[in-house]
């Protein structure tokens, strides 16, 4: 397996009125091609900050991040982001939202027909073909996030970054979208980094679960390897010994080793 993203001694601090606030310190992590990695931790531990660093939306104050042999100096379509609140542009149809990204990435090499075909394929991959001409305001939250995922996958990024992609959805819709994502990841073999606070989601979807200690000055506490065959099925996993072991390990980390101080 080839390392795709290397995070070397990365630290992130912010200047605030009360002085320097250290959000992250000494983060070392390597993400291999085709791997699905979850970042989990209590809220405020800086997991989204770490994802934004990989995305290039913010730059680290210490250390360096390298993607595909190059230092990450800013955001780009090779590192597509699925935002928690989907961030679809409300004045564009679902199709046009996806097309915007496709056009940016492939527009110089390919003709309009090819671009449209790519867009349509991505929308159909998340089973939203029937809603391509609808506006985001006309579809449900779960459907919007499907389009958000389609937009990211359509750009064929080297790595897909997801910031609590299903956090705003109800439990049933979330499960449906997780299954959808399992299918899409299986088809594309995508490299994914996902922020989550859902233990089951982390185990169900990832190859490795990176657990962050509590902030401020959070860092990687433990890394758990999930040795479950893919594709995974939530029904059979419910009684699987490895699944139970992984789940227990994360819960132990979160609720025993890193007890969250009363907010």
């Amino acid at each position: 397996m080839k390392p795709l993203v290397q995070i070397q001694n990365v630290g992130m601090s912010f200047e605030t009125k009360k002085g320097r606030f250290v959000a992250l310190r000494d983060i070392n992590l390597q993400i291999n091609e085709g791997e699905v990695v979850s970042l989990i931790g209590h809220s405020g531990c800086g997991k989204s900050t770490l994802l934004n660093l990989i995305a290039g939306l913010t730059l680290p104050t210490d250390g360096a991040l390298i993607c595909n042999g190059r230092e990450i100096a800013g955001p780009g379509p090779e590192r597509a982001v699925v935002f928690q609140n989907h961030s679809l542009l409300p004045w564009l149809t679902c199709f046009d939202n996806v097309y915007l990204g496709v056009e940016r990435v492939f527009g110089q090499k390919e003709g309009k027909d090819k671009l449209r075909a790519r867009t349509q394929a991505a929308i159909e991959m998340v089973h939203m073909g029937h809603a391509a001409t609808k506006y985001p305001g006309e579809i449900s939250g779960g459907m919007k996030q499907r389009i958000g995922i389609a937009r990211a996958f359509a750009m064929e990024p080297k790595i897909l970054l997801m910031d609590e992609p299903f956090g705003a959805l109800d439990a049933l819709t979330r499960a449906a979208l997780q299954d959808e994502l399992i299918g899409v990841m299986q088809k594309t073999g995508a490299t994914v980094v996902m922020v989550t606070h859902d233990v089951d989601e982390a185990v169900l979807l990832s190859d490795r679960v990176v657990m962050l200690t509590n902030g401020p000055a959070a860092t990687i506490g433990e890394i758990l390897d999930v040795r479950l065959d893919k594709p995974r099925d939530r029904l059979t996993l419910a009684t699987d010994a490895e699944y139970t072991r992984c789940r227990a390990a994360i819960i132990e980390f979160l609720y025993q080793k890193q007890v969250r101080k009363a907010a």
């Binding site: 961030s87 409300p90 915007l100 985001p136 459907m143």
Partner: protein, 311 residues
Amino acid sequence: MSAASLSLKADDSETGAPLLPASPASPAKPTESHMTSAAPVVASKPAPKNLAEPLGRAMRIILPPVLGFALLLGIWAIVAMTTKGIPGPLAVWQAAASLFADPFYSNGPNDQGIGWNILSSLKRVGIGFGFAAAVGIPLGFLIGRFRFLNAALDPIISLLRPVSPLAWLPIGLLVFKRADPAATWTIFICSIWPMILNTAQGVQRVPQDYMNVARVLNLSEWKILTKILFPSVLPYMLTGIRLSIGTAWLVIVAAEMLTGGVGIGFWVWDEWNNLKVEHIIIAIFVIGLVGLLLEQALLLIARKFSHDSNS
């Protein structure tokens, strides 16, 4: 909450699983037959009630404004009876009837129909407002996008904005040497502030999420402008336009009183000199009506372009 329940329903329909079957078929039938059997009896009785229902609602909507206008007319009639020189509603109505019988006559520059006066006022407002939009909207975009420009121009705008546009009229007369462009110039001045400020505010309030999308997709400045900034700012811009038109219509009457020529403001002043008070009252209603129509038209456009970005 509602969004979550909505998404749940939608996803169910998507998978084709009827989670909520419509009420079971068997209990539905008896009520239906009961309805049909009772229909001839029931239909005759509640018919007037069914008719009275929408009628009552219409009355609730129509009655208050009608009463309001009646009150206005009443007070006006009393004032007209007790005050010498102020014509009553009936006299004004008769004057209006003869005035609007031929709104587009023209007996030289100082005696034209009310239609021409309204149109030439609207033309001045249109030209002044058009120039203001052409300058104000791009300027608003720049101020909203670049913090330096904002810091540089904000004090100037804050200083000049409270000035009555009529104070600029002499400057207009001096520069343009003629009354007509000077009046247009005051419209330009009063229209430009809301346009700049609202556009700038719209640009500053573009949700960070959308800008993050632009950054991740690495969109060009042109794409950012056309696909993200412009659609996002459009509702703010339309608010600016609406406020501008409203003020412009207020100001044009005053400006034309000072500059003369053809126009509704000048017409009001002319009729005052002729002591045709009923015409002045007609003008007040006409100015109000035109202002109302302008406002409503722009509200209609704004509603068309508004998009619920929070959904």
